[in-house]
Amino acid sequence: MPFEYAPAPESRSIVDIAPSYGLFIGGEMVDPVDGTPFKTVNPATEEVLSEVVAAGPRDIDRAVDAARTAYAQVWSRLPGRERGKYLYRLARLIQERARELAVLESIDNGKPIRESRDVDLPLAAAHFFYYAGWADKLAYAGFGPAPRPLGVAGQVIPWNFPLLMLAWKVAPALATGNTVVLKPAETTPLTALAFAEICQQAELPPGVVNIVTGAGDTGRTLVEHPGLDKVAFTGSTEVGRQIARSVAGSSKKLTLELGGKAANIVFDDAPLDQAVEGIVNGIFFNQGHVCCAGSRLLVQESVAGEVLDRLKRRLQTLRLGDPLDKNTDIGAINSAEQLERIRTLSEVGEQEGAERWSVDCPLPDRGYWFPPTVFTGVSQAHRIARVEIFGPVLSVLTFRTPDEAIAKANNTPYGLSAGVWTDKGSRILWAAQRLRAGVVWANTSNRFDPTSPFGGYKQSGFGREGGRHGLEAYLDV
């Protein structure tokens, strides 16, 4: 008799979603001046969650002005130790409200509660704790005896890890003495708006953090605003290019964390069961909505059959469904638009001759869903081996020698992350030296820590977030 897991839904009664939200400017939730309302939906059910504002140019003006005033009059004058106190307070409040924020994140984003609870929230709090510790020690960070902040930072973040990306942006900016105007992604504004409330709870001086919701137009208006000293963006390479163009010639400092097409390289001496776990975690974690997803599996030809058998068997145990169920492994695709992109690219994969295999599991009737999918027989010339799909789709390629593995792994316009699976320590070091990627994981994947810098090569962007390196992006050095 099969062991069927009964539904184990996390209660959503802990979250209180308002029917509509304004903008968080100058420490208060305010009505828009020229913004227009739009709806945010639960991607797992298509249920409308709330109405938020697409901030207009005048709203952005207000937000940047509030940030400038807060910078000039309060935040830049505070000693580091005082800034640190606020950051510690924000970190503790995130921890205290972790369950609520995790549920909210899963509702708005579609990611499984297991991931928002065990990954997003602990890491977001850890990021604030980490940078809180730096706030009064900047003189010892290696950027001179008294490094200065830049001023007002405009930050635009993606929808895949809404609160975590907010933490990555806001924590180092505040620790170094900058003030921020942050725009969360169009489809996932709710945890950022909850963070606005946390800023109020922490009694953060008004204007130090401003949050303006909206879509691409709002983001463009923000990054092009002449009142900014710094622009930080995480998102697609395409938008990153536009931002780089618009910022060129201005005095704004820029950091970009963009797309990726990471290779997970499995050598024949790899710990195969753990490599399979790593492959699964690499591409199916967060439905593959991860810029550093291991979307290309490069497996040594001599073990390819065995690895694929193990992988497919393992994938059959993945549980797809209600993001709020504590046993769900694969949640919903974040938006109809993204689902369409994943479908289109998967069809392209088939048309170009790769063999498609999907987990045989029922998909819910409503909402945006895509089953975990593996393409075998993929070659470097296939589009699914080159384009970032940003979904639960793995392209499997093979290699014969270590040199070929490195050559194929590097043969991409991106360079955000890579993975190496081998039992041989010397080969790990050999490979890590040759892989042109900001992060190289050895016998693991998707590990993050606030102390460790993260960022890309080539079209994956520039600048680093996290660690001591992450301070540099917000200091005048």
């Binding site: 062991f3 897991y5 790899a270 693991t444």
Partner: protein
């Protein structure tokens, strides 16, 4: 019945072929294996799934007493408990087996006659395994002759750690033969093998030697069974069958005291090897205090509140 199917038959042809084979098994990454086990431990098993798991766990228990102070009276008491773990609840299933030292087998056989509960005996100089092979085999034959349905042997960890793999294999095979119709469980004592690579190799050795079950621990060594060790052994059993071998059961023993722990093991079984292993014929818990926590959680699920611990019998 052939103990090893043709694809694996050559593996034990010589000490060299066996060593090469064992060293050729895919390695286990410690961090990855422990992370996988920890991830599975976060599964939330509630309501009907919990009821199913608790009953299954009761049916999988090898109720065990392995003490110097064991007496016929103690064993008879344990057997009564094995037949009817919860005397107030007729819906509560019996456990799988009672596990005792060899000299107490006749007492257990007598006390369990007609119940369907099996009698398991530890043998081969349990728990250390340090005795001449003839002595070990005599102990096995004696327990089988006394009516034991199952024999829990220990491997020679000294020989294993010294790299004398073929000796370990041959001893398992000799015990297998001495067992006759009785089922053979082979205890690896994973706490003494120390690495997951060793656990995987010892699992294969035991299965190649003819084990019906591979078992984690004697319960006399710390650490005893852990979730990642069980994961690695289940993977070995899965791969052994996939390579053309028989289906081999897995028994976890030592340190499993709570129903929560037991359910975590069942989740690991479910998501590593699947339904085929989710019966008392293929998965067991060697335990003593675990049973009462299973009973208490069972009652809690039925009535909605916890009963006084004295509602449940001590043995």
């Amino acid at each position: 019945m052939a103990l090893t199917a043709p694809p694996l038959a050559d593996v034990t042809a010589s000490a060299d072929t066996l060593r090469r084979f064992l060293r050729g098994l895919p390695p286990v990454d410690q961090v990855g294996a422990e992370a996988r086990a920890a991830a599975l431990a976060t599964r939330s098993i509630k309501t009907t799934a919990k009821a199913f798991a608790l009953d299954l766990a009761v049916r999988m228990v090898d109720l065990t007493t392995l003490e110097g102070q064991d007496t016929p009276g103690k064993v008879r008491a344990l057997c009564a408990k094995a037949r009817r773990p919860d005397p107030m609840d007729p819906s509560c299933p019996a456990v799988a087996a009672v596990c005792v030292y060899g000299d107490l087998v006749p007492v257990a056989v007598e006390a369990l006659r007609g119940s369907g509960v099996r009698v398991a005996a530890v043998a081969t100089a349990f728990p250390s395994g340090r005795a001449p092979r003839e002595v070990k085999l005599a102990e096995v034959r004696d327990a089988v002759a006394a009516g034991a349905d199952e024999i829990d042997m220990v491997i020679d960890r000294g020989a294993f750690l010294a790299g004398r793999y073929l000796d370990v294999h041959d001893e398992v095979a000799a015990v297998r033969e001495a067992c006759g119709h009785a089922h053979l469980k082979v205890i690896l004592e994973t706490g003494e093998l120390a690495t997951y690579d060793n656990v995987r190799r010892a699992s294969w050795l035991a299965m190649l030697g003819g084990a019906d079950f591979i078992k984690t621990s004697t319960g006399k060594v710390t650490p005893a069974s852990t979730l990642p060790v069980a994961l690695v052994m289940l993977e070995a059993a899965r791969d052994f069958r996939a390579a053309g071998g028989r289906q081999v059961g897995v028994k976890v023993a030592g340190g499993i005291r709570s129903a929560k722990d037991a359910i975590r093991y069942l989740v690991v079984v479910n998501e590593t090897v699947g339904d085929d292993w989710l019966t008392p014929d293929w998965f067991r818990f060697g335990a003593s205090s675990l049973l009462n926590d299973l009973l208490m959680q069972r009652r809690k699920l039925a009535t909605g509140h916890y009963a006084d611990p004295d509602e449940f019998t001590i043995d």
